[in-house]
């Protein structure tokens, strides 16, 4: 029996909003999730864009979904199945290739072919990353302290952080400082000599950022690759059966089982505040819904500048949010294929097609792709991160046919002259041309093509400037500074109004961590 009235309203049915709602529901609150679109999932949705072909439209791989969330919400019982993506295949312009396989010995042998020393270094590097990933895990699961505050809880948080740093030991601490401050290219340069290996590894450091592999601050994302493995639950990257939308659906099911009400097609116009407190929301239809807690899973710009009247917020926070960097840098091309791509360097069908395919032949290639974007153009030769989900989950395409998901960087939101239909198609052509150089049969295999520019992502998913992480993951926008100093604890200056999107710590990717940490903060506040 549902009673009228809700304890909490979550704005935005993306994976973080759903996780947040499920945790609140689990604690016995009556929760309503309001989603603007006709389906939940936000940037983690599966849509049948062309009949029979299902796309993970935006976000396409799962790497960091927190195991505690999977356990707490019993997601496998709600239909979550994550299949491993086992290899990374980098075709090279000289007709060679580089593959990193799931099997250690096979990878070592492949690396040895390129550089015997790199084969040794790769093992040592992997071990160090493992250790560091293990070391940073507590930070990812921590509500960041307000470093400017003398409040006991914040001082305790700082103290905890201090003790934690001390416990790391000198070697790990220094390695971590280097990772946090260096560029991916410089960091990898200390280890490896094989250009394609450095490039493919550094590519993981630039995904979703408006930075190049040589930009300081890109090294630490290298760790993400090793975080998944640590948990022993997944390999580095996984693919959800049914596409990333299945992740959202599983969380939605878990939330509903905990009494959460989901409403789609319900766009929130603004949050109702009275006397400095959130009282509920107004939908675009004019409907008003009351609740004592309102949570925004939207990005910080929408959370602070659109859903509430900035005049109700401290001017400093408004200034901070206005200058919060949220430049979109990536696009997406989804293809329906009549046959698999046939790579010149490794012809025919093989296990290399079942993993990630990375167009990242050299660091300079990636850096030049970034140079184009710096000055407002999409990359003439972009970085591509490709998966063929239908090889892992045949249900994604009609039998014998395939879907291909191509993540493309760089595509600046602020394109010189702006994004138009013609530019979108030119961008799509560039992507296809780039990939066709390595797999010439691609063009003739394309049945349908969907191209998403950052402008499209903003319009369709509500991602401001098309930024997939709700804000760039640069050093001055992390941890206690995300989204703004003093407001990195999931609260806002309006009592009862909270944030839980990727614009809060620990940031983007399908981790669910901001949603969970936000919920923990809310529940703690409600108890007091």
């Amino acid at each position: 029996m549902k009673r009228a009235g809700f304890d909490a309203i979550v704005i935005g049915g993306g994976h973080n909003g759903l996780v947040n709602a499920a945790y609140l529901g689990r604690a016995g609150l009556r929760v309503l999730v309001l989603e603007r679109r006709h389906l939940v999932g936000g940037a983690a949705v599966t849509e049948e864009v062309f009949p029979g072909f299902k796309y993970s439209v935006c976000s396409y791989v799962v790497s960091l979904l927190r195991p505690e969330i999977i356990r707490d919400l019993d997601l496998p019982a709600c239909g979550l199945e994550i299949l491993p993506l086992e290899s990374t295949f980098t075709p090279l312009p000289n007709g060679d290739y580089l593959v990193r396989w799931a099997d250690h010995d096979l990878t070592r042998r492949e690396l040895y072919r390129h550089s015997p020393r790199d084969a040794d270094a790769y093992d040592e590097f992997g071990r160090l990353m493992h250790q560091l990933a293990f070391a940073v895990k507590p930070v990812l699961g921590m509500i960041p302290p307000d470093v400017t505050s003398f409040a006991p809880s914040d001082l305790a948080g700082l103290l905890r952080l201090g003790r934690y740093v001390r416990g790391l030991g000198a070697d790990r601490f220094h390695a971590l400082v280097k990772l946090m401050t260096m560029s991916a290219a410089d960091y990898l340069e200390e280890w490896f000599e094989t250009e394609s290996l450095k490039a493919t590894m550094s590519a993981s450091g630039i995904i979703g950022t408006f930075l190049g592999p040589r930009s300081p601050g890109t090294a630490y994302v290298l760790l993400h690759h090793y975080l998944g493995e640590i948990d022993g639950v997944f390999r580095a990257w996984g693919f959800a059966r049914g596409g990333t939308g299945a992740v959202s659906n599983a969380i939605a099911t878990a939330a509903e089982r905990r009494g959460v009400t989901l409403r789609t097609g319900a766009a929130v116009a603004r949050v109702i505040t009275r006397g400095g407190r959130a009282r509920g929301v107004v939908l675009e239809s004019g409907e008003q819904i009351g609740a004592r807690v309102v949570v925004s899973a939207l990005d910080p710009k929408r959370t602070f500048l659109e859903l509430v009247d900035p005049a109700e917020l401290p001017g400093e926070l408004v200034a901070d949010i206005r200058r919060f960097r949220i430049r979109g840098s990536s696009g997406k091309v989804n293809l329906a294929l009549s046959e698999l791509p046939d790579f010149t360097c490794l012809p025919g069908f093989g296990p290399h097609l079942r993993g990630a395919i990375s167009i990242s032949p050299s660091v300079e290639y990636l850096e030049r792709a970034y140079d184009d974007a710096k000055y407002g153009a999409f990359s003439r030769r972009p970085y591509l991160d490709i998966v063929i989900p239908s090889l892992i989950d045949p249900g994604m395409a009609p039998p014998g046919k395939h879907v291909m998901s191509i993540f493309v960087q760089y595509a600046p939101y602020q394109l010189n002259g702006g994004w138009t239909d013609a530019r979108r198609e030119a961008f799509g052509d560039t992507v296809i041309d780039t990939l066709s150089q390595f797999a010439p049969n691609l063009k003739s295999a394309i049945l349908h093509r969907q191209v998403l520019t950052p402008a499209d992502m903003e319009r369709e998913m509500g991602l401001t400037e098309g930024n997939i992480f709700h804000g760039e993951l640069s050093l001055h926008q992390l941890f206690s500074l995300r989204p703004a100093t003093r407001w990195a604890q999931y609260r806002t200056p309006i009592a009862g109004y909270y944030q839980c999107g990727s614009g809060t710590h620990p940031g983007g990717g399908i981790s669910g961590a901001p949603g969970r940490l936000g919920a923990l903060r809310i529940l703690k506040d409600l108890r007091q």
Binding site: V147, T148, S149, V165, R166, L168, G169, A170, F173, H174, V177, K178, T181, M182, D186, E190, L211, R214, S215, P216, G217, E316, R323, R325, E364, E367, D371, K374, Y375, S474, L475, H476, S480, L481, T485, R486
Partner: protein, 527 residues
């Protein structure tokens, strides 16, 4: 063999001389050995054309330590620092923008470019000053032992943290945010005028192998500021920066230091993990109880000590110090002053640094070239006309121009730094300047070009890096020169680093030398 010295200092640059002076004042017998026939290292003023003298390397001071200036009574030894006002004048689109010491004066100068920016300038100066105060506090102290600081370190860190917090929550938040930022992000936050952004970015970039979009470059802007100075501040020395070295040498000699020039060190002798002697190129052996090297860490460990007796992990760390040279110098002997039609204020306006840094994209594109191993087609320039401060540096009526050119990478992708390339660089620099001062090419009587390779060969600066190690976030403070060895001591007992490769890094500050001497004296009293 003679009795061992208490200390040998390798290199008579400003840091080596500072360390020597402090040790001698504490009663130690000290000898400084310098490879060149002149002292000064990177702070040296030399004749490059008959009758024309110029600062061969550094043409302005870092925020020189007031404490060292007072302790060593450098004024009495002839060091006279000059603070030109405006500190910088930046050329752009037929106009010029001057940065003055007084923010309100600068705001007026900004107004023609953007009235909004002019209004924001004073607040920007306050924000930068708050952060610079923190950087200065850190600069004045030795790096803590992290991650496990001792009580004294902890108290010092807490004091620095509280000092920051005392300026208010907002100031603290702004400073923490600012430190890891890029200059471009910082300036985009505040301003709309690309000319202004270029001018300020240009004050932070010299010596860096980074463009304005590189994270951590905002810190570099602070690094060059004395506490309380407005962004872009410039300190010159009357008579050239060589005077600073001469003054330090005077103070050192007065304290009993022996300074030997033309005494290049071939190696540092190590026995049972301890540095015991210095061997000069001629074979002469000078024994000592301890050795302070102001040579860069790569040269010190990989060449002078040699990797054989060092742990491989340490050698690996030293090898990984990034010290890619980024800049070249061009020196011009001029028959007359360059005339910049864009600059209204007359010659006085030119006393500080004249900059060609007309915008962020201009600077970033100059860096793009270097990123791939090329010389900037349209370089960023910082020029100083020292004859406006001290006319005696040139014959009467004549002038000297010292130009820092960026980017000129040490590692060229194609070819080498041979003569033709050097002259091409000189031509490009004069051509760019001529766009703003059309009379310049005709005024040039003589031209000297020093490439990063020249800097390396003349000065022994590995890869021609003027900071003895890039001033990047991962190579600062307790990470400088390498993690775990930021307190001037080294794995070789009795061997210390006292050059810019150690905290707080490059710039003519005398602080690495000062801190190193303190570390030596601390270790002596501990044992």
């Amino acid at each position: 063999m003679s009795a061992p010295f208490d200390a040998i200092v390798i290199g008579a640059g400003h840091n080596g001389l500072t360390a020597a002076a402090y040790l001698a004042r504490a009663g130690l017998s000290v000898v400084v050995v310098e490879q060149r026939d002149v002292i000064g290292g990177a702070t040296v003023t030399e004749e490059f054309h008959p009758g024309f003298r110029v600062d061969t390397f550094a043409h302005r001071m870092g925020p020189f330590s007031p404490r060292v200036f007072e302790d060593l009574r450098l004024r009495t030894y002839g060091l006279e620092m000059v603070w030109p006002d405006p500190a910088r004048v930046a050329m752009a689109d037929g106009r010029a923008l001057s940065l003055f010491r007084d923010p309100s004066q600068t705001a007026e100068a900004i107004r023609p470019f953007s009235s909004g920016d002019a209004a924001r300038w004073p607040a920007f100066c306050r924000t930068v000053a708050d952060a610079a105060r923190l950087v200065d506090a850190v600069r004045q102290s030795q790096p803590p032992r992290l991650p496990d600081p001792g009580l004294r370190d902890l108290l010092r860190l807490a004091a620095i943290g509280l000092g920051l917090r005392r300026r208010g929550k907002r100031a603290m938040a702004e400073t923490l945010r600012l430190l890891p930022m890029s200059l471009a992000d910082l300036l985009d936050d505040w301003f709309e005028s690309d000319v202004l952004k270029g001018a300020v970015a240009g004050a932070g970039l010299p010596g860096l192998m980074q463009g304005p979009r590189g994270a951590g470059t905002a810190y570099a802007l602070l690094h060059h500021l004395a506490a309380g100075e407005a962004p872009g501040g410039v300190t010159l020395v009357r008579g050239g920066t060589g005077r600073a070295a001469e003054a330090l040498a005077g103070a050192a000699r007065a304290a009993g230091v022996e300074i030997r020039t033309s005494a290049p060190v071939e190696r540092i002798g190590v026995r049972s993990d301890a540095a015991v002697e210095v061997v000069l190129a001629g074979g002469e052996v000078i024994p000592a109880r301890r050795i302070l090297s102001s040579a860069d860490p790569k040269r010190t460990f990989l060449t002078l000590v040699g990797p054989e007796a060092l742990d491989p992990a340490f050698v690996r760390q030293v090898r990984h110090i990034r010290m890619r040279g980024a800049c070249a110098k061009v020196h011009l002997a001029l028959g007359e002053l360059p005339r910049f039609p864009g600059i209204g204020g007359g010659d006085a306006e030119l006393r500080g640094a004249v900059m060609v840094a007309p915008g962020l994209d201009y600077l970033e594109r100059a860096f793009d070239d270097a990123k791939y191993g090329g010389v900037s087609e349209r370089p960023f320039l910082e020029a100083v006309i020292p004859t406006l401060t001290d006319p005696s540096l040139a014959p009467p009526g004549r002038h000297v121009m010292s130009i820092l050119v960026q980017y000129a990478p040490y590692h060229l992708k194609a070819g080498a730094w041979e003569a033709a390339r050097r002259e091409a660089l000189g031509d490009a620099v004069v051509a760019v300047l001529a766009e703003y001062a059309p009379n310049l090419p005709a005024a040039v009587l003589h031209r000297q070009v020093l490439t990063p390779l020249d800097l390396e060969q003349r000065l022994g600066l590995t890869e021609g890096n003027i900071f003895q190690g890039e001033m990047a976030l991962d190579q600062l403070f307790f990470m400088r020169p390498v993690p775990g060895w930021a307190r001037y001591g080294t794995p070789v007992r009795g061997l210390y680093l006292c050059g810019a490769g150690a905290h707080p890094g490059g710039g003519v500050t005398a602080l690495p030398g000062y801190h190193a001497a303190r570390a030596v004296l601390r270790d002596m009293s501990a044992s």
